[in-house]
């Protein structure tokens, strides 16, 4: 059967073009790959190559014709033994070579279909800690190290790589002792090459290993953010579920002290924007340990945001063989009835102190530690707001598009009727972090601001 050659599109948006020139004439033999014509749009001139072999039976559109619609037949190609007469009888509607679908744009049908609801995540609750369990006082630093060591003991596929993690024992001493216990195969010092080693980590994860990639600080991970987002977070989706990246990116995040603008930034809101990532920012040593163990076991890419100032702070950690906490579950740090304070990571230090001060003034504040930023445990926040009617969020990151504004939006949408005052969001100031001690102090949130905000929402 003769084959119709159709007017091709140069791009998905092209609808018509000019057939500027024929390079074959009727009766010419054509092989696959031969250039048969030139077409032109306002943007470009392109050559039309033959896909099928045969003889040009008839040119249906004259050279120089403007406004030829995409997919309109422009010539008829005869197969072996077919006569020119057959050309006239070529089917008019069927595009070559008889595609099964009638329309090349079936998306139109799908466009009308309703958008399916996003699945809800239902995080598990914290494990019960048996009565009589010994509580051990340890720093966040020690808790993080113990979490990694325990998981590395349990699984040979788990390894850590990063700058100064091995011989130097960690720039912030988080990996102290790991090289001695696990050796250089599993505790890998990298060159200063964040983009490269983040990619190497993701590649190793795609091959089935369980890398922990330490960034000395997350400020340097901006060099690597392409691999974190484009390579780690999106591969599972792009592969239709075939291949993911079980990897933990961890390290110090946020402002330390007097290290100025390029070394003082909180990335919670940045990473929480990305589908395909989980984002954790713990405050206590127990949460640091239980959540880092969970992150290492998780089959997805996890961002684990630590804080240099918290590294040396001590907390009680239950002494258990395998203390693992659920990702995506907030923790009520302090129960109260008058107002809800939601924070995470180092932001909790302001929230906790503010709650103490407010208690002295007779305001009973409930403090929620989000622990996980994505997926966010909004039900725990909403439940609290339904009780207190008032909400203040606290974080060190920049104010625009912050974690707090996200919480405020969702609470407004889902618990509007329960709010007795507008939600207030306390964040870092909208400035790069200054170096001078007095300015740095002003740029960060402070306990006084939090106290004042809670009083404001309580109309006190």
């Amino acid at each position: 059967m003769p084959i119709e050659i159709l007017m091709p599109a140069l791009s998905p948006t092209m609808e018509e073009g000019k057939l500027s020139k024929w390079l074959k004439k009727e009766g010419d033999a054509v092989k696959s790959g031969d250039v048969i014509a030139e077409i032109e749009t306002d943007k470009a001139t392109m050559e039309v190559e033959a896909v099928d072999e045969g003889t040009i039976g008839k040119l249906l559109v004259a050279a120089g014709t403007e406004g030829v619609k995409v997919n309109a037949p422009i010539a008829v190609l005869l197969q072996d033994g077919e006569s020119a007469d057959a050309a006239a009888k070529a089917p008019a509607a069927a595009p070559a070579p008889a595609p099964v679908a009638a329309s090349p744009a079936p998306a139109a049908a799908a466009a009308a279909a309703p958008v399916p609801a996003a699945p809800k995540s239902e995080p598990a609750s914290d494990p019960d800690i048996p009565a009589g369990t010994e509580m051990v006082t340890m720093t966040v630093r020690e808790a993080l190290r113990d979490a990694m060591a325990e998981e590395m003991r349990a699984h040979d596929d788990v390894f850590i790589m990063g700058e100064e993690v091995a011989e130097y024992q960690g720039a912030y001493k988080i990996t102290q002792g790991l090289l001695q216990e696990f050796g250089p195969r599993r505790v890998v010092d990298t060159p200063i090459t964040e983009h490269g080693f983040a990619g190497v980590g993701v590649g190793a994860a795609m091959a089935g290993l369980r890398p922990i990639v330490e960034f000395m600080t997350f400020n340097f991970a901006m060099q690597a953010i392409d691999h974190i987002i484009n390579s780690a977070a999106k591969t599972l989706y792009m592969s239709g579920g075939q291949m993911g990246a079980p990897i933990v990116f961890r390290g110090a995040n946020g402002a330390a002290a007097r290290v100025a603008a390029q070394h003082s930034q909180d990335y919670a809101a940045w990473y929480s924007h990305i589908p395909g990532l989980k984002v954790i920012q713990p405050y206590t040593a127990a949460d640091a340990k239980g959540l880092l163990k969970a992150a290492i076991r998780d089959p997805n890419p996890v961002i684990f945001l630590e804080n240099e100032i918290l590294y040396g702070q001590s907390f009680e950690v239950p002494k258990m063989d395998d203390f693992v906490l659920p990702i995506g579950k907030a923790r009520i740090h302090r129960r109260g009835n008058d107002a809800t304070l939601v924070s995470f990571g180092i932001g909790m230090t302001y929230a906790v102190k503010a709650a103490d001060e407010l208690a002295k003034e007779g305001i009973d504040v409930e403090v929620i530690d989000l622990r996980t930023i994505r997926p966010m445990d909004l039900p725990t926040v909403i439940e609290s707001v339904r009780k207190t009617g008032r909400l203040v969020t606290v974080e060190e990151g920049f104010p625009q598009s912050s974690v707090g504004t996200e919480i405020a939006t969702r609470v407004m949408q889902q618990a509007f009727d329960y709010l007795d005052a507008p939600v207030l969001t306390i964040a870092g100031k909208d400035v790069p972090m200054p170096y001078a001690a007095n300015l740095e102090k002003l740029a960060l949130p402070n306990v006084g601001e939090v106290v004042q905000a809670v009083k404001t929402v309580c109309y006190r």
């Binding site: 159709l6 007017m7 091709p8 599109a9 140069l10 791009s11 998905p12 696959s32 790959g33 001139t45 392109m46 039309v48 190559e49 896909v51 995409v70 997919n71 070579p97 595609p99 099964v100 679908a101 090349p104 049908a109 799908a110 399916p116 609801a117 699945p119 390894f159 990298t190 060159p191 090459t193 983009h195 490269g196 080693f197 990619g199 190497v200 993701v202 590649g203 190793a204 994860a205 795609m206 091959a207 089935g208 290993l209 392409d226 691999h227 484009n230 390579s231 591969t235 599972l236 989706y237 792009m238 592969s239 239709g240 579920g241 075939q242 291949m243 993911g244 395909g276 089959p299 997805n300």
Partner: protein, 349 residues
């Protein structure tokens, strides 16, 4: 002025001058037997016909977005695959259809992914640039230029970590070869002696920019020199030269000597993507490559000359290939789009 002069001198000191080093660009090639020639012919023909069909379906509006065709470069991936064994990994950029077919991924699966249908290798969620196969050890399909080089180095890291003798092959173009992460990867691969083969497909143009307009050192086999990574220039239009270089590279990597670079001197006949009119090069240049260096025609001529296949037998292979491609095109047009419920699947495990 002195600095200007030093550049070509440096190029003249390239490792190729070292005694005992093989020349894969016009010198050393594998003498194929009949079966290997026929296999090369068939596999390259499959890629070419597949890509021509993809181009046609794009022109008809069945394929959306970007679509980068591999026509002209077929000998590179077909020759490389000849030296690989089960367990070796392959990763590439967005000009990836040929690599997937050469890795044994189904024509139906690839074509249906191009049309965004549920039977596509990524269930229609990846498209032309994003396909993967755990089964065939194909790790994508990456749209960020150069990203596959770090990822491929990570695949080699995993082999090294596990102590197996698998190698990873990372394909990238002359354009990607100027990305910083490529050199970060070279450094780590050489430092840790990772079994990584870097195949630079030098098709002379990074989109519309000729190599000489973008690269201070246009001999890409030299790009690992400062890390001590050996490199070869290879006639990427001759599948026998590619196969010989691939054997050398694989033997080098498997024996624990660390990474190796192969610069494939190749050429893409079509534009960078479907909407590229390719005005940055002359028609004569394209025509000369097609008529004098076509990788498929070279094999075809040898098969006929040696009497290993008749015109008729080659036509039978052509028909076979056409049938596979036609079947894939038909499937890719009739297969339904993904169910709307797929919108929210495969985001997290």
């Amino acid at each position: 002025m002195a600095t200007r002069k030093s550049a070509p001198q440096a190029a003249a000191r390239k490792p190729a001058a070292k005694s005992g080093k093989k020349d894969f660009n016009g010198g050393t090639f594998l003498d194929f037997d009949k079966e290997t020639e026929l296999k090369a012919y068939r596999e390259m023909m499959l890629i070419r016909r597949f890509e021509e069909k993809a181009g046609q379906l794009y022109g008809m509006g069945f394929i959306g977005g970007f679509c980068h065709l591999y026509i002209g470069q077929e000998a590179v991936v077909v020759g490389m695959q000849m030296a690989l064994k089960e367990g070796d990994q392959v990763i590439t950029g967005y000009r990836d259809h040929g690599h997937m077919l050469a890795c044994g991924m189904s024509a139906r699966g690839v074509m249906a992914e191009l049309t965004g249908r549920r039977g596509g290798l990524s269930k229609g969620k990846g498209g032309s640039m994003h396909m993967f196969s755990k089964e065939k050890n194909f790790y994508g399909g990456h749209g960020i230029v150069g990203a596959q080089v770090s990822l491929g180095t990570g695949l080699a890291f995993a082999n090294h970590y596990r102590g197996n003798d698998n190698v990873s092959v990372s394909y990238f173009g002359d354009g990607a070869a100027n990305q910083g992460q490529v050199y970060e990867s070279f450094n780590m691969a050489a430092l840790w002696k990772l079994p990584a083969i870097y195949v630079i497909e030098n098709n002379r143009y990074a989109m519309g920019t000729a190599v000489s307009r973008a690269s201070a050192q246009t001999d890409f086999s030299m790009r690992g020199a400062s890390f001590g990574i050996p490199g070869y220039q290879v006639d990427g239009m001759d599948v026998r030269a590619v196969a010989a270089a691939a054997e050398e590279a694989v033997a080098h990597c498997r024996s624990g000597k660390g990474p190796l670079i192969l610069e494939m001197l190749t050429y893409r006949y079509r534009g960078h993507s479907m909407s590229d009119p390719a005005k940055y090069r002359s028609k004569d240049e394209v025509q000369k490559m097609r008529s004098e260096h076509d990788p498929i025609e070279q094999v075809r001529a040898r098969l006929l000359e040696k009497g290993w296949a008749s015109e008729e037998e080659l036509r039978a292979i052509d028909k076979d290939v056409r049938d596979i491609v036609a079947d894939s095109a038909e499937f890719a047009q009739s297969d339904p789009e993904p169910d709307v419920s797929e919108l929210y699947t495969d985001i997290l495990l």
